[in-house]
């Protein structure tokens, strides 16, 4: 008898979605009870006519129900701890557990943002030290830790640029972005009230200097550039690029998504960039959390520092720590001081690795990417065949043309091999793109396993393309009807709908 034969389908535990938490328990069930107040209750009529009259439909469950429900949800997820996660552009490195312990220390987690600053000296010192470290890594010494995410950092920097240009009596109108940029770049530009000018990449996937020069004039506020770029290539003309930008009085912005390639090797500030954001949830090992929270500190040149949003943690002359505002601050871009719990994790990483460790992390990340690239490029075409940085972009176009297998099919099949798929269909300038970023986390054995899975799948594409069209087979659910989700939106539990 096989394992499958032995299963009674009616009794087998489901691996896929189960009931919503709203559908568990009985109305009498409770998990956490709150002690009755030991002071007189306030009558409902003291609440300005806003006292609730209808009941709230929230779950009514026991603690066991809660524990089992979220345990089951967890088993349906794939995280960095589940296996290799070569998701290009996302830097899915291991999340050290020390970081998790540190941010939960009560001296950090229990701090209120308005408690007196002399009772929060350790927290302020940590923020100052982290800002100093990020300034050193980026070569841009003015640092705000406030932005909550990379896109928030982009927007913050653009606001700083706007304030700088406005202070010079020349607010400007446009921001230039290469076609290989992340979608957040143009979206941030629009949110800052600028117009987007897109320029094409050259035949090497780098910035086309002629196209850039043609786009630059005195109406341009900034260039936003990811370097190393989204093909994983370091732009060889970076010095000429930032020089051309500065010649028209514009500013150069570095999208720091790919900082994990160059820590301790090269610094955006030295390349002529005026500002960058750093995704702490990529480069500095803080967890992605299933979509956040991250943190996107922004680092700028001394000329832009007076415009940073406040308040900024500062070291006072007497050695104590406080909060300060710069002279021409743009204001605030969120409440309080930033995603402090994320900052603690990032600082733990900086402490543990030190300057040399950060450089070694980048070196290993680049070596691992090149290793995979060399093993895979004979199987999947590599449109831009150069030494890459921490990631590289293959094309699935040949599989599509020869066997009718798309990159999406390859990605879904990888799930059956226990590997999280790479980023696909980005950057847009490569057809059927497969963007692989192994990070320094993966061992040689794991890199080989990923390569072997991708090679095996290429063979499957040839021998049995339908196998790939139907993949995945082993996951908690299989391919989803995404069109139905759009056409028949079901965006919340509502028992009235089910009657």
């Amino acid at each position: 008898m096989t394992r499958d034969d032995a299963l009674n389908p009616a009794m087998a535990p489901s691996r896929g979605p189960r009931e919503l938490i709203f559908e568990l328990g009985t109305p009498a069930n409770r998990c956490t009870e709150i002690p009755a107040p030991d002071v007189p209750e306030v009558p409902a009529d003291a609440l300005a006519g806003q006292s609730r009259t209808c009941g709230l439909r929230l779950p009514h469950v026991t603690e066991v129900d809660v524990a089992r429900h979220y345990h089951h949800l967890a088993t349906m997820n794939f995280g960095v701890d589940s296996g290799s996660y070569p998701l290009g552009s996302c830097t899915m490195k291991y999340n050290p557990r020390l970081n998790e312990d540190a941010c939960r220390l009560e001296g950090f987690a229990g701090l209120h943002p308005y408690q007196p600053l002399d009772t929060a000296q350790g927290a302020l010192e940590l923020m100052v030290s982290l800002a100093d470290a990020l300034g050193e890594v980026s070569g841009l010494p003015g640092v705000t830790l406030q932005p909550a995410a990379g896109a928030h950092g982009e927007l913050t920097a653009l606001m700083v640029f706007r304030a700088y240009h406005t202070a010079n009596g020349d607010p400007r109108k446009r921001v230039v972005i290469p076609d290989a940029a992340h979608g957040t770049n143009p979206a941030s530009v629009a949110m800052c009230g600028y117009e987007v000018t897109t320029i094409a990449s050259d035949e090497n996937g780098a910035v086309d200097l002629d196209a850039l020069r043609a786009a630059l004039d005195t109406d341009v506020a900034a260039l936003m550039l990811t370097n190393p770029n989204t093909l994983g290539l370091f732009d060889p003309n970076i010095v000429e690029i930032t020089k051309a930008v500065h010649e028209v009085g514009a500013l150069a912005y570095c999208d720091g998504a790919n900082l994990n390639a160059i820590m301790g090797k090269a610094r955006p500030g030295d390349m002529g960039f005026d500002a960058m954001h750093i995704n702490l949830h990529k480069t500095f090992s803080t967890p992605h959390g299933g979509g956040g929270p991250g943190a996107g500190p922004v680092c700028v040149t001394p000329a832009l520092t007076p415009f940073l949003p406040g308040p900024l943690p500062v070291r006072n002359a007497d050695g104590t720590f406080g909060l300060g505002w710069t002279e021409h601050s743009i204001g605030r871009i969120r409440s309080y001081f930033g995603n402090f719990g994320v900052l603690v994790r990032a600082y733990a990483y900086v402490l543990a690795l030190g300057g040399d460790g950060l450089r070694e992390a980048s070196e290993q990340a680049v070596l691992s990417a090149n290793y995979m690239k060399e093993r895979l490029k004979s199987v999947y075409p590599l449109p831009y065949d150069r030494t890459c940085m921490h990631e590289f972009v293959l094309s699935g176009d040949e599989l599509r043309k020869k066997y009718g297998v798309r990159t999406l099919d390859v990605a879904k099949r990888l799930l059956d091999y226990g590997v999280h798929p790479p980023t696909i269909y980005f950057p847009l300038i490569v057809h059927e793109s497969i963007m692989i970023e192994p990070t320094e986390t993966e061992s040689l054995a794991d890199l080989d396993r990923m390569c072997e899975a991708l090679i095996a799948i290429a063979h499957e594409a040839e021998s049995d393309p339908d196998l790939l069209h139907g993949a995945p087979y082993t996951t908690p659910v299989r391919r989803l009807d995404e069109a139905r989700a759009v056409k028949q939106p079901d965006l919340r539990w509502n028992p009235a709908d089910e009657l």
């Binding site: 006292s51 950090f108 929060a120 909550a148 956040g292 040399d356 989803l480 919340r492």
Partner: protein, 432 residues
């Protein structure tokens, strides 16, 4: 590995970096240390703080010391949740996706709205996104914001407005409230929205029905920020005509953590769905017909629409939203009501006791929930410092946030404060 890539040293791999921009020196940072040493350094930094959670704290102003059930952090520590990326591969992300769907459902319940997104960075940025969404929806660019909204949130709104895509007009505060008659003077046919907070920054209940009617009569949207910890006790903003409801979700199972990360929640009426910022999860089926969850309505988002997206937001606060969902599941409707009732009762008890001492005056008389402002008759800064020394956080000194509010102290009371603590605090503060 080096030989496999045709390199003799790791530096060969960096040859594409022009020599002029290679760092050529070690980073000026301390060397790495063992985990044991790093842990000791972090603990020493932590020990140099006296966290509000260890003191008897009456500090609120947007960040609250509520009890967090044990189960919440045990769920958050599951690496399947916290080490996962955004659920772009739904076949292996059903845990994150189902949770977001359940979170959206819970946010719809407490706000009274039809649809909610997967979360935003914080209450302040959710509030700004609501203003931007109202402007897109109405094709108007002026927003009228109540001066009784958290001062930091209003600064954030003003900072975003510097881009020129919206114009912000602030309605003056009268007796700690927003008077509909005053707001009416500012609202016209260019107004995209009226934005208020309820309870407002001073803890007072705004006249939501009147303000909502005012907005709608002008063809504007009504945006309300609410405190979710009070949702078990207070009617939802939907009942008073709100079109978009946002707020800071930290009170739901999230640590104060020096003010972040919490989460912003964002909900609206169904007719505005396509203008909503952020990620949304929907329920569908897989090829076998099994129920499943997936990111949907993505044509609103930056990775598809680029500069025409409804927002630039990409990362949200999914893990904090998970904490909020586990919290709401744990306390349930009854527990949430108990939390709200306890906070309100204890706040009223404290206010009465402080006023009875004669060392505090009441600048406002409006009904309030679990937060209230009083004027201290002495030196607020000195009182605050001395009370901290004695183990209390004597509310928030509003003069430190806005010089216009000098002398005012904002007290918040959560269910964690006992009558004995409150009595002892009052006794100590009188003895100064």
């Amino acid at each position: 590995m080096l030989s496999a890539v045709g390199a003799t040293s790791v530096d060969d791999l960096f040859e594409s970096v022009p020599a002029a921009v290679r760092l050529g020196r070690p980073l000026a940072l301390p060397g790495g240390v063992s985990e044991m040493e790093a842990a000791a350094t972090l603990r020493a930094l932590s020990d140099r703080n006296r966290p509000a959670s260890r003191l008897v704290s009456f500090a609120g102003a947007g960040c609250y010391d509520h009890y967090v059930p044990s189960i919440v952090d045990h769920v958050l520590r599951r690496p399947e949740f916290f080490t996962a990326y955004t659920p772009y591969q739904p076949e292996v992300s059903q845990g994150t996706l189902q949770n977001i769907y359940e979170f959206q459902s819970m946010i719809c319940e407490i706000t009274g709205m039809d649809v909610a997104n997967a979360s935003m960075y914080d209450g302040a940025t959710a509030f700004v996104e609501a203003a931007l969404m109202a402007a897109r929806t109405t094709k108007r660019d002026k927003v009228v914001v109540a001066g009784s909204v958290h001062p930091e949130w209003r600064v954030v709104l003003d900072t975003y407005a510097e881009s020129g895509i919206i114009e912000v007009v602030t309605c003056p505060v009268e007796d700690g409230l927003t008077a509909a008659a005053s707001a009416a003077l500012l609202v016209d046919d260019a107004t995209a929205a009226i934005l208020v907070s309820n309870p407002n920054f001073f803890g007072h209940f705004e006249d939501l029905a009147a303000l909502g009617d005012l907005a709608h009569a002008a063809g504007a949207l009504f945006v309300v920020s609410m405190n979710p910890a009070l949702a078990g006790v207070l009617e939802s903003p939907a009942s008073f005509g709100a079109d978009i409801v946002v707020g800071e979700g930290q009170p739901l199972g999230n640590a104060m953590s020096f003010g972040g990360p919490g989460l912003g929640f964002f909900a609206c009426r169904e007719q505005y769905l396509r203008q909503m910022p952020g990620r949304i999860v929907g329920r569908t089926v897989d090829v076998d017909g099994a129920g499943a969850f997936v990111l949907t309505m993505q044509t609103r988002e930056q990775h598809i629409r680029r500069e025409k997206a409804t927002s630039n937001i990409c990362s949200n606060h999914a893990l904090n939203a998970l904490a909020a969902a586990v919290y709401l599941s744990s306390v349930g409707a009854e527990g949430l009501a108990e939390v709200g009732r306890a906070c309100i009762a204890k706040a009223h008890y404290l206010r009465e006791a402080l006023l009875a001492t004669g060392t505090f005056d009441a600048p406002f008389s409006a009904p309030f929930a679990h937060e209230f402002a009083l004027r201290y008759t002495g030196d607020v800064v000195a009182m605050h410092a001395e009370m901290t020394r004695r183990g209390y956080i004597a509310g928030v000194d509003l003069g430190s946030i806005d010089p216009g509010m000098d002398g005012l102290v904002l007290f918040a009371v959560t269910e964690k404060r006992t009558r004995a603590e409150i009595d002892a605090f009052v006794e100590e503060v009188v003895s100064l």
